[in-house]
């Protein structure tokens, strides 16, 4: 705690010399010339960026375009639990859940749309996801010619395994530690039911070990195909 400082009294009246315009101009020129020369010498350290040739370096927490993460076999980690849609303050996520052809995955999103024009990029969906299935990237360059195009379906959101993510990863669930290594249970290995379950399933004749290889990817969801969507035109 301290006192009150009267800044008005601290600033003295202008002297007769200062009241001539020329000294003020010269004094100002000295400051601006110093900046000019310094910038000329250190032209590489200018604060301006020659966008789009160069881009700003954002941190790995940047909240840009979303991606839907996948397991190693190419299926979406998302289990269509609707928690991100519920947490979204902008109500921009539309999910339609379906039964996965592979019994161990049970549920998956038939439709997972994010309306990028409604999205406020707050990251609440990432915080809400219990399956580590939605991340954000550092991609902030999204321009559209019409509003339908701005609704990103699974085909635009999915992060295909092995392919690099445009502009790098951004905001992800916060893992304690160095913030980069996900804990074991959020790994991307395919889900295999526990041993007891496996026996029961095998008795039912299910393909428990996924010997048939990776199944089809989740169905893409072009916006026009889905009936009953809210009109956005």
């Amino acid at each position: 705690m301290s006192g009150v400082l009267d800044v008005g009294a601290r600033v003295k009246k202008l002297t007769a010399f200062e009241r001539l315009y020329v000294p003020g101009v010269l004094k100002g020129l000295a400051v601006t010339m110093r900046h000019f020369l310094r910038n000329l010498v250190a032209i590489r350290r200018l604060p301006t960026i020659l966008y789009p040739e160069r881009k700003r370096d954002y941190s790995d927490r940047f909240r840009g375009k979303h991606i839907l993460t996948t397991r190693d076999d190419g299926t979406l980690k998302c289990v269509a639990c609707y928690m991100c849609a519920e947490a979204c303050p902008a109500e921009c996520i539309t999910i339609v859940a379906g039964e996965h052809p592979r019994i161990s995955y049970e549920k998956y999103p038939v439709v997972f749309d994010i309306d990028m024009l409604r999205c406020v990029f707050c990251g609440f969906c990432v915080d809400a996801c219990p399956k580590d299935a939605i991340w954000m990237t550092r991609n902030y360059e999204m321009a559209f010619f019409n509003r339908e195009e701005a609704v990103f379906g699974i085909d635009k959101l999915i992060a295909k395994p092995g392919l690099p993510v445009k502009d790098g990863l951004g905001y992800r669930p916060y893992y304690p530690g160095d913030g980069t290594v996900p804990p074991g249970d959020a790994s991307s290995s395919p889900v295999i039911p526990g041993d007891g379950e496996r026996e029961k399933l095998r008795e039912k004749g299910c393909d428990v070990e996924h010997t048939a290889g990776p199944g089809p990817l989740n169905a893409p969801s072009p916006a026009e195909k889905v009936e009953g969507r809210r009109s956005i035109s």
Binding site: M1, S2, G3, V4, L5, D6, V7, G8, A9, V11, L14, E18, R19, L20, Y21, G24, K27, G28, V31, T32, H35, P47, Y58, S59, R61, F62, R63, M83, E86, A87, C88, P89, A90, V120, F121, C122, G123, F124, D127, A128, P130, D132, M136, G170, Y171, P173, Y174, Y175, P176, P183, G184, D185, A186
Partner: protein
């Protein structure tokens, strides 16, 4: 309202004092004094002007600063005697206390309460807003027109029975100019009289503000401001979202210093929940809030000087702002719309290099501030433009409900960080800058010094910043459990699920909590009915009363002075119109 309520056994000292004072006054039969989070006076509409006058003038009350008027519709809330109430928050500068007055509007008739604009001129726009959004009628108000909604709007949107799906289209012919602007009288002896519109879309109106001004030559003889072009239904939307979902909306109130809004909002909710945030989390909030205050002042001074022709300062002041945005982005992932705070703490811990980055900023920012000081403070042109223009006296500033740098530039050292220290402000060594002239130049000086004081606060906060420790409360009814636990542990997953799907359960009640925003006192009045989200949430935007007084401040000055004055008011349209 017949008698004073039987006093509960434990009344807080301020409420006790207020109850005693009213018991000794001729108004004793007309008010009841309650003890909520603030001492609260309940009164009927017919007695409201007398009580208002008493609250302002009585030497034991002296509530001279009108802070806020919030309408409340109790249609869906149990336990209230009437459907509509007008909730007024006041502050006493001499006694450093807040008080709340509730005007209970009887059911069965149109909600109507007398205007108190002659007691507190600051009530002007607050009453217009309540008329607009709630349909309260204020007999005695000189200009009771819609404020935030447009003139073709039908209904009162914040009433609980208003369906938000309706659309009201506004055509150009619906624009209602003030009557004096439509029929301008030609008066003899004047060089030229004409009425002009400045804005809504004009570079000098910072945001979208429409100023209708009648000119006599270059002098403004009468003016009226029309706002509402950026009204985004913050309050209505909050009522349909959960407590945490409101946080991104708060960023968009004062978007120049978004962090401070979030802190103000979550502090209100945390007080209602009665939870504590660990020191480290509170220090992060303090440091980033002070950096946001610096940014806000940089933007304000920079753009104001651009308006009067000094572009260079804009570059010099935006450079530290860029580096601060870099720090904020490294913490939360966004530059402007931070969404960093959560009820109970922060979204995510700060990065490892947080403290070194803060220290680097503390090194670099003063250089730019010094440069601007060298260019501006002793420059004759700046002095001619700013000194002696937009003058507000101390009495006017208080009457108009000013807070923040605007009030301090008239010599009143009211700063929430000092008057009611929150977080760690009582541990830091810093000064409140004041000036006595109340003109545009004083405001410039106060803001420049506040940048330096904020740097001093940050320096001390960084010194005591703990190297490790939690930033969040560990109450999992409020804060999301760590992701590690959610993936592994069923109980954590259940907490996580309940928090996301149901939201935080805030106990029933109401709370007004206030902090020092960059523009002045930023308050949030929140009512909970025990549901997942706010029943009613009313921010007290600091620039709202200043903008209301703008049309009176500029009368008599030139247009160019009005532009300079508008710059120093620091109007943020997002916060003004919500």
């Amino acid at each position: 309202m017949s008698t004073i309520e039987a006093p509960p056994t434990t009344l807080s000292p301020p409420a006790e004092r207020l109850r005693d004072r009213f018991a000794r006054s001729p108004l004793s039969e007309k008010v009841s004094v309650l003890d909520l989070d603030l001492p609260t006076v309940e009164v009927g509409p017919s007695d409201w002007p007398a009580v208002a006058r008493f609250l302002r003038d009585d030497p034991e009350c002296r509530y001279d600063l009108f802070l806020d008027l919030a309408g409340v519709d109790n249609a869906k809330r149990r336990g209230r005697p009437t459907r509509f109430e007008a909730v007024v928050h006041l502050h006493s500068l001499s006694r450093d206390e807040h008080v709340r007055a509730k005007v209970l509007l009887p059911d069965g008739v149109e909600p109507r309460l007398p205007s108190v604009i002659d007691v507190w001129p600051a009530a002007n726009w607050f009453e217009r807003e309540a008329f607009d959004l709630f349909g309260f009628d204020f007999p005695g108000h000189p200009n009771q027109r819609r404020l935030l909604c447009h003139d073709a709007f039908v209904g009162h949107p914040l009433r609980k029975d208003y369906s938000p799906g309706q659309r009201w289209f506004f055509a150009e012919e619906d624009l209602r100019m003030p009557a004096w602007a439509v029929h301008t009288e030609e008066r003899a002896g004047h060089f030229e009289t004409q009425t002009i519109s400045i804005g809504p879309s004009h570079p000098a109106t910072h945001g979208i503000i429409h100023l209708v001004a009648r000119l006599d030559g270059e002098r403004i003889t009468r003016a009226e401001t029309q706002i509402g072009y950026m009204h985004r239904c913050f309050e209505k939307m909050s009522e349909t979202h959960t407590w945490n979902q409101v946080i991104p909306f708060c960023d968009r109130l004062n978007y120049v210093s978004a962090m401070i809004n979030g802190v103000g909002y979550v502090r209100t909710v945390e007080k209602m929940l009665g939870i504590e945030v660990p020191d480290r989390g509170r220090l992060v909030r303090t440091i980033l809030s002070e950096f946001s205050r610096i940014m806000d002042h940089c933007v304000n001074i920079g753009t104001n000087l651009v308006d009067i022709g000094g572009l260079t300062n804009f570059w010099y002041l935006y450079q530290p702002r860029e580096s601060i945005y870099g720090l904020i982005e490294a913490c939360c992932g966004a530059r402007l719309t931070v969404s960093y705070v959560r009820v109970g703490g922060l979204a995510i811990d700060v990065p490892d290099d947080f403290v070194p980055r803060c220290r680097a900023l503390l090194e670099s920012i003063p250089k730019f501030v010094d440069d601007v000081e060298r260019l501006v403070t002793r420059n004759k042109i700046v002095r001619n433009r700013l000194a002696g223009t937009g003058v507000v006296t101390k009495e006017q500033a208080i009457a108009w409900g000013f807070t923040g740098p605007m009030l301090r530039s008239t010599g009143v050292p009211y700063d929430v960080r000092r008057s009611r220290p929150y977080d760690f402000y009582d541990r830091f060594d810093w000064d409140i800058p004041v000036a006595n002239d109340g003109d545009n130049f004083s405001r410039y000086l106060v803001r420049m010094e506040e940048i330096r004081q904020s740097l001093a606060i940050i320096r001390q906060a960084v010194d005591i910043f703990p190297a490790s420790g939690p930033v969040n409360s560990d109450d999992w009814h409020v804060v999301l459990p760590p992701k590690d636990a959610v993936y592994h542990d069923m109980e954590s997953l259940i907490f996580h699920f309940k928090l996301i799907m149901e939201g935080i359960r805030v106990p029933r009640g109401e709370r007004y909590d206030w902090i020092e925003g960059a523009n002045g006192e930023l308050g949030f009045y929140a009512i909970s009915d025990g549901g997942a989200g706010p029943y009613r949430l009313k921010p007290r935007p600091p620039c709202f009363p200043m903008m209301a007084a703008f049309e009176e401040m500029i009368v008599g000055g030139g247009i160019s002075d009005a532009i300079a004055t508008l710059g120093t008011l620091n109007i943020i349209a997002g916060e003004l119109e919500r």
